[in-house]
């Protein structure tokens, strides 16, 4: 396999009720990435695009074909990836595989979503399509409901009293909003929150309250990935994709032997760590899938940053901030940066790549000396994909 590098990154503002279409947002992120990489449409050999609910939000399917041609990449193969909130990470993993194999030298990859166009009731319905439609949706399961079930199970299984878990979950949201105010692309760039605001917000699915939950969002992000040889021509700051992982899960109830662990994440991240030859202790920063505050704790444990039932202590001790043992979601995460689901994985990879290049000083949120970063994305109730990104190869 050949080495593969990210040579360009692009990221739109994440917003609510944005004025632009999914195609327009993707094209803005893509051209930013192409400019950074100094590539023209003629250099792009394939397009991989994460997009989940274009059909519902805009009445638009097969968006990838229109995007390719709008960008001037006439007639190139373009493929849409649908893995709920993990869609763009699946797309990046495939871009990596096709470039590593030698089939392509340069691939444009990313995602776009306009979730707020659906409104909250339809968005809640469509997001629930990432659970088992026949055997679990009839009970009225929602996405917050899925993580609410895990939050109560977490408290009971690990003997973390709900009062303490409540405080830990609030700390997660407070930290995300703090860093979100430093990210000019964040949906909540003007909004800090207090622990009291989080713990007193209206209940969505007990015990999860409004500020435990990520918002519905519109936005896009894109990357140009290239073979090592091509990357050397294009940039003096390549960020290598050194490990990738992906794993699937059965319906939530059938994950019973492992819950509240998400077993697929443990499988996926092991693939990524092993391929890169690193472990959790080597990771300098992580963007993980904090769709809900409890999801951050569970993810941090599944990724190996804490023992089961202990991840909250990372936030309590400030270990997840810049300067801590494992800086997590310094972008503001899904919670404060926003979560346009088809774009989220590309946004996370863009963020980690920019951190590893040392681009974040101007925003006052650079993780100094970071060399190895981890991306973690969860789709529905259990598609997981992970990426290890490195500058020191």
């Amino acid at each position: 396999m050949r080495k593969v590098a990210i040579v360009g990154t692009g990221h739109t503002d994440f917003v609510s009720d944005g004025p632009k279409t999914e195609v327009e947002m993707f094209c803005e992120a893509a051209t930013e990435a192409m400019e950074e990489a100094s590539v023209t449409p003629k250099d792009i050999q394939a397009l991989y695009c994460g997009n989940v609910f274009g059909d519902f939000a805009e009445g638009q399917g097969m968006i990838q074909s229109y995007i390719a041609n709008e960008l001037g990449c006439h007639h190139i193969p373009a493929t849409r990836f649908e893995g709920a909130c993990a869609s763009a990470t699946l797309a990046i993993r495939d871009a990596f595989i096709w470039v590593a194999s030698g089939f392509y030298d340069v691939v444009l990859v990313g995602g776009t979503e306009k979730a707020t166009a659906m409104g909250t009731p339809l968005a809640t319905r469509t997001f629930a399509m990432g659970s088992d439609g026949k055997y679990e949706f009839p009970a009225g399961i929602t996405f917050p409901g899925f993580f609410a079930l895990l939050a109560n199970l977490y408290s009971a299984n690990y003997d973390v009293p709900m009062e303490r878990l409540r405080e830990q979950m609030s700390m997660v949201s407070v930290q995300s909003h703090f860093y979100g105010t430093k990210n000019p692309h964040a949906q909540f760039k003007h909004k800090e929150v207090t622990a009291e605001q989080v713990s007193k917000g209206f209940m969505v699915a007990s015990p999860l309250r409004l500020l435990d939950c990520c918002p519905f969002s519109d936005g896009a992000a894109a990357l140009v990935v290239a073979s090592e040889e091509k990357a050397r021509e294009l940039t003096d700051k390549p960020v290598y994709i050194t490990g990738v992982g992906q794993a699937s899960s059965p319906r939530l109830s059938a994950q019973a032997p492992f819950l509240p662990r998400i077993r697929a994440r443990e499988v996926s991240v092991k693939q990524a760590y092993d391929m890169a030859g690193v472990g959790p202790q080597d990771i300098d920063l992580c963007e993980l899938h904090d769709c809900f505050s409890i999801a951050s704790l569970i993810a941090a444990e599944n990724l190996g940053f804490a023992e089961n039932g202990k991840a909250g202590e990372l936030w309590e001790k400030g270990e997840t901030k810049i300067g801590g043992k494992i800086p997590i979601n310094i972008s503001g995460g899904l919670k404060a940066k926003g979560h346009p689901i088809g774009a989220t994985g590309a946004s996370q990879a863009c963020e980690v790549a920019r951190q590893l290049r040392g681009d974040m000083d101007s925003e006052g949120r650079q993780v100094e000396g970071a060399k190895i970063g981890l991306v973690d994305t969860l789709g529905g109730d259990g598609i997981i994909s992970n990426l290890v990104l490195q500058t020191n190869v």
Binding site: P121, L122, A139, G140, L150, M162
Partner: protein
């Protein structure tokens, strides 16, 4: 290979308050809701069996924000129940005020009843929904 216990057959039985599952002829594990392979050993040699519908609550949540078309159902309680025969299934608990549900529910013995989700424009028809009540009559 024929699907042993289709959604339609599972649904029809549940409408008569019978919970059907699949027993693996190789390892004896019970799988429910149905799927193609044994959840334990991945074998395909499964037989349809009726389950007791009895179990205990392993976790719960009260949903306050419902999906489109189901707003008038909220608030409602969702539970995961570990059945006597081993598998966990998702259902509702209709036996108490949803606002008063708390962690004390975990471990409580329950038994099956049935209601129906009439379906919406995306669901390809109705689906029986397992609902549970406390077995100790509480």
């Amino acid at each position: 290979m024929e699907y042993k216990l289709s959604f339609k057959d599972y649904h029809k039985a549940l409408m008569k308050n019978k919970l059907m599952g699949l027993k693996c002829k190789a390892c004896g594990t019970i799988t429910c809701p149905p799927q193609m392979s044994c959840r334990n050993c991945t074998g395909f040699d499964l037989e349809v069996v009726e389950l007791t519908g009895k179990g205990k609550i392993t976790t719960y949540t009260t949903i306050y924000v419902a999906p489109e078309g189901r707003e008038n159902e909220a608030p409602y309680i969702i539970v995961l129940v570990e059945l006597e025969e081993g598998p966990w299934i998702m259902g509702n608990l209709y036996d108490m005020d949803p606002a008063r549900a708390d962690l004390d529910l975990i471990g409580k013995p329950v038994e099956l009843g049935t209601r129906i989700f009439p379906g919406d424009k995306y669901s390809d028809g109705p689906a029986a929904r397992p609902v549970f009540r406390f077995t100790d009559g509480k």
